[in-house]
């Protein structure tokens, strides 16, 4: 791990030199949304890097992805992969962590997902130590911290008005910035540096996620618990579409003229059609079963399978839920449920 001190204009010059090989994206404000958009000229590099409304999963698992094209008579097929290289600059540590969570599902040993793999290999993440806490974000309550690498390739620390510190944990990224930096220090662990990164400070309200994981199996049968949790849930797809760690997808064919394409698109465990069987039987008929699946998946199954929570505490589901259901309250409610 290397810690570089770089002047801002050198940092921008390094980025400029990369632009022929990489597309560089930074968060940009567009009316009341913050969207990752390609870095054009450098004057809009204000280093504030607000948290984007949509998670960065869109770069490795887009809402629509063509798997392959085909002719309707089945005679010909052609796969379609996206191999464009990109650098995501100004990512929040909670978003960076979710790429690691998605890797568990798409790159595990039994089957490697070729579409995800090609995008993931060509996506580099330079995150930013959080300068201020969002309204509903809670990574600290999960025992994480807003200035860790969390699987990112590099993280920007302590920006002053002329220079910044860049902690790099990836040889390729290091090779890009090496010649532009004032000072290079060898660092063997993140903790040594993260003191410098400490900007945002607040009293954390820890969530009993470890204890909840032990208790959840015993709650599977208590239907009232799940009914109460989902009482005001309208089963729309907002929380899962905007969740950086949610990856469920649907596969459908789109036809046009003689041919067509097989399309992978977002799906949600909150939708009825997600588990509705052709016979009409639905193993998860109401919001209660679906909320049970959502909570168990993120706070029991993921920890069991990959010993990482299926949630990074970004807070998007809390921001945009029409019924204002707060997953932190749901965790406490389930944990204290008799």
């Amino acid at each position: 791990m290397k810690l570089l001190r770089i002047k801002k204009d050198n940092f921008e010059e390094a980025l400029r030199s990369l632009q022929n090989e990489f597309k560089i994206y930074i968060p940009k404000k567009e009316d009341d949304n913050v969207v990752f958009s390609e870095l054009g000229n450098f004057k809009d590099m204000d280093y504030k890097f607000e948290r984007t409304s949509h998670p960065i999963k869109e770069f490795v698992l887009p809402q629509n992805e063509t798997l392959f094209y085909f002719l309707k008579d089945g005679s010909r097929e052609k796969e379609s992969f996206d191999t464009s290289k990109r650098i995501l600059l100004g990512v929040r540590p909670c978003d960076a962590k979710t790429l690691k969570l998605l890797d568990f599902n798409f790159l595990d040993s039994s089957y490697i997902d070729p579409y995800y793999e090609k995008r993931r290999k060509n996506t580099f993440v330079i995150s930013i130590a959080c300068n201020e806490f969002g309204e509903n974000c809670f990574c600290d309550s999960l025992g994480d911290s807003p200035y860790k690498l969390n699987g990112a390739d590099a993280i920007i620390y302590s920006i002053s008005n002329e220079e910044l510190n860049l902690l790099i944990d990836n040889e390729v990224i290091f090779s890009f910035f090496k010649k532009y930096s004032e000072k290079i220090e060898e660092v063997n662990s993140e903790e040594e540096v993260s003191e410098k990164g400490k900007i945002a400070e607040r009293a954390t309200k820890p969530l009993p996620v470890k204890e909840l994981k032990e208790k959840l199996p015993s709650l599977i049968g208590s239907t009232d618990l799940w009914k109460n949790i989902s009482a005001t849930c309208i089963e729309c797809g907002v929380c899962t579409y905007l969740c950086p760690a949610c990856y469920c997808f649907d596969i459908n064919d789109i036809t046009f003229g003689k041919g067509g394409k097989r399309l992978r698109s977002y799906d949600s465990c909150m939708f009825k059609e997600y588990t509705l069987e052709a016979s009409g039987h639905n193993p998860r008929p109401t919001g209660a079963e679906r909320w049970r699946q959502r909570l168990l998946h993120k706070f029991l199954y993921y920890p069991d399978l990959y010993n990482e929570l299926g949630c990074s505490g970004c807070g998007r589901c809390i921001d945009k839920c029409p019924s204002k259901i707060d997953i932190r309250e749901v965790i406490n409610y389930a944990f204290n449920y008799k």
């Binding site: 809402q63 109460n228 649907d250 459908n252 029409p322 019924s323």
Partner: protein
């Protein structure tokens, strides 16, 4: 606004009565979040009644939650648009009046969370008090502030076709088809939505401008003569689509052409459920 405190006190009192005298099984209302904004809540017994709260952030249409408690005797807090939604649902046979204990609230208008102004549809709201109720708080309802939505619609209507199209397409580009607008609307209760029917496939699962157009226009059109303009769909939309200008246009056309407004009287048929031989007729009949 001491009206909020007054209303909150009264609806709690009515809530206790609903449990004690009307033996409702649950009450659907609002409870306050930490920062005093409201979220929908289900009250299961009498000693939880003090959770019931009212203020001008009650932006969720509670009538939507009734479908989750079918057959149960339910108390429900209802301002103007929720009350009208109940009338439409009763007229369409989705709920029975006798299963409802309606705790009426003369609405003071709902505030938009980001800019603290009244929502557009509250500015032009003509029916702030519920048309049907069992109890009602003794507070003066909101006076009509001014039809800002209607003015905006007229401005857009005056635009050229290409300007209208680019504004419309700009909205359609934002849509991510999460269907929160459908789920937040009390009138959207189809067993299988036309979106999920695959023969015929009315639209593709791909999120394109054209598919989003079929989705949004059809969802709105399926509310013709049924929508009470409560704004729940545009408030639920995570991408901030401007839906109210389309819904407002359709509701104003329904009023202008057929003199009909949804959810005002039990027993009336929806606008497109009936006809009148001398309805206005603009079809081509031979003259060029």
């Amino acid at each position: 606004m001491n009206n909020d405190k007054l209303i909150t006190e009264e609806i709690r009192e009515f809530g206790r009565k609903a449990f004690k005298e009307e033996n409702v099984e649950i009450i659907i209302g609002y409870e306050s979040l930490n920062d005093n904004s409201l979220k929908p809540a289900v009250i299961y017994n009498e000693n939880e009644v003090n959770k019931l709260t009212w203020n001008q952030t009650a932006s969720f249409n509670l009538a939507t939650l009734l479908r989750k408690f079918k057959g149960k005797k339910t108390g429900i807090i209802a301002n103007g648009c929720i009350g009208r939604s109940l009338v439409v649902l009763i007229n369409e046979g989705q709920i029975k009046r006798e299963n409802l204990v309606i705790i009426g609230v003369p609405c003071q208008g709902i505030l938009n969370e980001n800019n603290e102004e009244l929502y557009e549809n509250c500015m032009s709201c003509k029916y702030p008090s519920p048309p049907i109720f069992d109890y009602i708080a003794q507070v003066e309802p909101l006076k009509v502030q001014g039809d800002t939505l209607g003015e905006r619609i007229e401005k857009i209507e005056a635009m050229s076709e290409s300007e209208k199209l680019s504004y419309f397409k700009e909205q359609m580009n934002k849509c991510i088809r999460c269907y929160a607008c459908r789920q937040a609307c009390p009138m959207c209760y189809c067993e299988t939505c036309f979106v999920d029917i695959n023969s015929p496939k009315w639209l593709s699962k791909e999120v394109t401008n054209e598919d989003n157009t079929i989705w949004n226009i059809t969802r709105i059109y399926h509310l013709a003569g049924r929508c009470v303009e409560c704004g729940a769909c545009s408030r639920a939309c995570p991408e901030g689509l401007d839906l109210m200008y389309l819904i407002g246009k359709m509701n104003r056309d329904t009023k202008r052409l057929f003199g009909f407004e949804a959810g005002l009287k039990i027993g009336t048929k929806g606008n497109l459920e009936t006809f009148n031989p001398n309805d206005p007729d603009f079809f081509w009949k031979g003259e060029s």
